[in-house]
Amino acid sequence: MILLPETEAEAAAMIRDAAAKNTRLALGGNGTRAGFGNAFLADAILRSTQLSGIVDYDPAEMVMSAQAGTPLAAIEAALAQNRQMLAFEPMDHRPVMGTQGEPTIGGVFAANVAGPRRFVSGAARDSLLGLRFVNGEGEVLRAGGRVMKNVTGLDLVKLLAGSHGTLGFITEVTFRVLPVPQTAATVVLSDLEDAEAAQAMAAAMALSVEVSGSAHLPPSVKTRFLAGGLPGYAATALRIEGPAEAVSLRAERLVAALEDYGPVTRLGAQETATLWREIRDVHPYADSTTRPLWRVSVAPSAGHQLVAALRLEAGIDTFYDWQGGLVWMRMEAEPEGELLRRAIRATGGGHATLLRASAQARATTSAFEPEAPALAALSARVKAMLDPANIFSPGKMGGF
């Protein structure tokens, strides 16, 4: 059964009803990110898609409010008209997850989606100023507000962001936006080994040139970017954005500081846009398969160590974003969750999220990083405080 409330009040009534009858609800927008999390049983799907439209947008204040079901495309179009954008560069999960339809803005925040700029500008949660949501008892509540600075009470905004529809049904979001940089360029270092690339990326971040994208594309994936147009056999890409003069000055300084690492090429604005979109959307693994795909977040200097350790034991293919701290990892056959998570712990900690796998593999692998027992108990208590009847996507984020 699919529930399509047309107003927030209607959604609240549906949820009260579900709580009374113990009906388990899968919360969502258009389901383009429905593959997140553990498989779970639901009696009905509650979709935000009829709650659509920009509620308020004041470009001068750089703040927008929109109903949760508003298509992301509509938001981005409205922002583009004012040369503004979402700072966190949300990834489009459709290509790798093999889903269709229009991603909604509510889904973007519920999954705390981000892209390459995340390591300097924050994730969706950092741009989210406020929201309206319905808790598991069917109460309509507000959290946060419309202003950038706000410590009035507990920050439920952060809690709801990234809760993947397990804590509340988000009906409206208010977020900060940023001006689109006038231009952008990419400095590409060729032919670095993973470890050298990690050093070069760290060196770039120690310079005051405001690098806003830092990725390393090893030989196995390099040819999949820019239609094979990147030079050399491995590419380490560093993006700079801003006013035209500033970008060219900073790119020069970057090149001067890094040219000892290897051959340097510069990409213009057009290629920069394409390249970082491909990196954002994990283009090499948009391969129409269900081969297991992991999103691994570790300390930047640990990424390549983790990969080196795993290579000995599993068939993996990888590339790195966020200065090496975001490792995209496609497994040859099995997800190897145990192995991967042990290796993450051994290299200093972090977490792995399984974005894609066969149904069989998903049934036996925890999609989100299992938490230490005390933390898992705490998270469970938090969930029970928002959703006492446990009707929102039960089991989706819980451990195995």
């Binding site: 001068a60 703040v63 040369r83 952060k158 990234g162 998270s379």
Partner: protein
Amino acid sequence: MSQAIAFLPPRAAVLSRRAAIIADLSDLLPAECLVHDPRELVPFETDAFVSYRRLPLAVALPNNTAEVSAVLRYCHRHGIPVVPRGAGTSLSGGAIPQEDAVVIGLSRMARVLEIDTANRTATVQAGVTNLAISERAGAEGFFYAPDPSSQLACTIGGNIGMNSGGAHCLKYGVTTNNLLGVKLVLVDGTVVELGGKHLDAGGYDLLGLVCGSEGQLGIVSEATVRLIAKPEGAQPVLFGFDTSEEAGACVADIIASGIIPVAIEFMDKPAIEICEAFAKAGYPLDVGALLIVEVEGSEPEMEAMLKSIVAIARKHGVKTVRECQSATEAALIWKGRKSAFGATGRIADYICMDGTVPLGQLSYVLKRTGEIVAGFGLRVANVFHAGDGNMHPLILFNANDPDEARKAEEAGNEILKLCVDAGGCLTGEHGVGIEKRDLMRHQYTDAELRQQMRVREAFDADWLLNPSKVFPLEGQPMRDTTAA
């Protein structure tokens, strides 16, 4: 001393066991880490919200996470309230103790554990001061961005407690945007790690929830924060306008133009006079409002940005433009601003409000603020972070005059309600504490407060952590069982 804001009545069962509790605590801590002599407790009786004070039962000053855990476990088992404390610079009474509480102060835990330049992180004990992080990272070319004016004294644990901001948060965000991980000691003494050197949470964003939770969800014993490469240069420009309205409109236009300066600070005439008399910063005295706008980058970048910003200011009838030629001049411009609270404290007692409003409402709220305070027969000076709408009216009064003190509090309450009604919030960076606790109902519905309190209970079911703060006492579920 003001009495308008109530504390929870002390638990008689705790007070009557004071001697035994102190004896037990002395088994858990080295002698120099436990304060219980009433005279030695005095420095802990209040924070920077000085009109309220309460002597705590005892103060524990643990040396490490294990000792924090031991004290918490003990207090939890015996139903003793706990008030976490950093440097005690809270302006909202967040660190003020109560008679039946053990204060856990982090001042002895002040070691920088690691500066990791490859990963751009600093890992520190919670009692490290905000400035110490930037000082230590500075040698390597990095800094920690959130810079509260109190940064010389305030601790990172307190910053996390209050999700503190600062002048330079317009570009870099506040504490929550720069915090990567904490070691958190839960009320029963369990130690959990949230986050680390990696980004994002593997599950629920409990780190985001803890930041700004005013010591009610646990005690932070260590933190990992993000470092940023120091900009090549920074340059402030000072603008004088005839009226606050012109200055306010200029701020809105700078933001709307797509330039994001690192800071836009605002001062009205009374604030200019107070700061100038103290800091001799060379502020123009013939203007009604002043802006300090700071940009960062290389020389040519800063020049280009300043050019655009000055052009915008001219459109708004700017009267004085002072660009600085040297680092000394730049430091002087900031000296006046950074000493604003201290300078005000020399001429009068004051309470500092902290509401935030949408930028479009700045001029209106400033005007109404002046009217409200004048209505109570008091004076106000405004000095604040204009770029993000975070206002700081300083209401001047004489603390020895109970009537003035009451009026100041009332005027403050009116102003905060005004901020909420204008689409903003009660507090942008100082926290709710006790100061704004009873105004929470003006911003939130009962259902919203109940939901927040229930999430709080997931961490502290017995309401032992900093219980008199943030949530109106009448609505607290433990309220009835706590009375002495």
